[in-house]
Symmetry: C2
């Protein structure tokens, strides 16, 4: 998905939010804002949000020397999610359709996001989403694909959300390769974050080779692309992975919450919807 | 008031909103966004929002050749306000304190703003604000100053809001010079807009000489600065004029609604508050 014009102000908001985690020195923040502002005009009109985000966060990291500004935030979110894990497992177990409940739990985890929206309440949203209907609902087809899958790839999104991904992976009962970002970007999960969430107990964790906040195939390693090609089921979590893969062919299911007006408009659903959507081109 | 860092994303939103009035050609809008993005790093850290706004709207106007993108919007807002005028006059007349009610009506008009917030409902907000308490309330002092004033200057803000300014000027019963922007910027009133609101019947309309969305003294004409110096009462309407004059000494009363988090924080009130505040330094 190409960036919408409305994405551009958002990159400044994201820069501000991230810089405020790093420093309270307004002049230092101003220098980074100016650098981001100078960089944007070099972009192609067709750039995708993860491509732009990658460069914006690289500017922040290069200028401040802070490689992972969200490290502490990510640890806290993961711990908070782990505290909720037993309760979520119990709810999924008791649900009429455990795989459906687990998919909803995984989407609920998608609210843990410091890019698209900086404020959220995991517990409150979780309870609501476990009862919420998918606005795009390809669950029946998803359940059939899970049943016959022999090798699934799960594209991770944010740290903390990882714990809820684990719940879905456990219900899938399929061999899963869990792909995370190669380097820290926003609060997206890297290997360390996935291990803290206990994903290593239920899946093989690998790096996609990309440091963009979305699985941009051109930025990924050859090894990862081979793994992706050989998968019979790909679960793409979150907005960033949707933005990177919305035009890519493959047995992809997008599992996300539409947290910003741009994504909601692109998918054609109200903001705040939960989505379980099979890749349209692949389906046709 | 120096621009807060949070103002910078907002200039991109304002550019987008204004460009969408001019064209639906996304690539043309993108060119202007890029030009604004290239311009921002040249700013001083201490620039005020009206100084920045002036340049941003100049870029838009220069690149598109459209000098007054809000012309139709302003006409419509003025007409809408004129339709409400008899009802507002009636309410002010019936109020226990007509000057206070007229000041509230003038603030209610301040919601007509395509810079700080693009969506509003004049009629609904008017009814509410006519009953709302000022969060900063220097009305008693204001009423005394009005009583003894021989020459007041009223610094206009947006077109349409002008009609409600007229209500306050009528209640003041003081000779008033009504100063508007020299050239169109956002939906701020120029002479034509003030005349359409009927201000010429109750005050002398002049241009401040400035084309910034706020009365930046350095951008104003010598004539206007002389008039301002000779005034014994200055009413500064809206956020832009507050941003430009918050550090300037004088018998100034700021009359505005805090429509964005930055202004609310600067004044120390909740967002959405109405303010009638005497210039602090002058008072001390």
């Amino acid at each position: 998905m190409k960036a919408y014009l409305d994405c551009y102000p958002c990159f400044f908001v994201q820069t501000l939010n991230t810089m405020r985690l790093i420093t309270s020195d307004e002049e230092e923040i101003w220098k980074v804002l100016k650098a981001v502002s100078s960089f944007l005009p070099s972009l192609s009109f067709d750039a995708t949000p993860p491509e732009i985000g990658r460069e914006v966060y690289r500017i922040i990291s290069d200028m401040t020397g802070v490689e992972d500004p969200y490290r502490e935030v990510k640890k806290r979110c993961t711990q908070q999610a782990l505290d909720l894990y037993p309760d979520v497992k119990e709810k999924v177990k008791k649900a009429g359709n455990s795989l459906l409940a687990a998919a909803r739990a995984a989407v609920a985890g998608n609210i843990i996001d410091f890019g698209a929206q900086a404020e959220f309440d995991i517990k409150k949203d979780l309870d609501r989403i476990l009862k919420q209907d998918f606005a795009v609902n390809d669950f029946e087809r998803f359940a059939r694909m899970v049943k016959k899958s022999k090798k699934a790839v799960y594209l991770a999104d944010n740290a903390g959300e990882t714990v809820f991904d684990r719940v879905l992976i456990e219900e899938m009962a399929v061999p899963v390769v869990y792909a995370v970002r190669d380097k820290p970007v926003i609060n997206d999960a890297v290997i360390e974050d996935a291990v803290e969430a206990g994903i290593d107990r239920v899946a093989q964790i690998i790096s996609s080779g990309s440091d963009a906040p979305g699985t941009i195939l051109g930025c990924c390693s050859d090894d990862f692309r081979d793994i992706l090609k050989s998968a019979d089921l790909i679960i793409s979590k979150g907005q960033g992975n949707y933005e990177a893969l919305s035009e890519v062919q493959g047995p992809i299911f997008f599992l996300l919450k539409s947290k910003c007006p741009v994504i909601a408009k692109d998918i054609g659903v109200p903001e705040g919807s939960i989505i379980l959507m099979e890749q349209k081109k692949y389906r046709a």
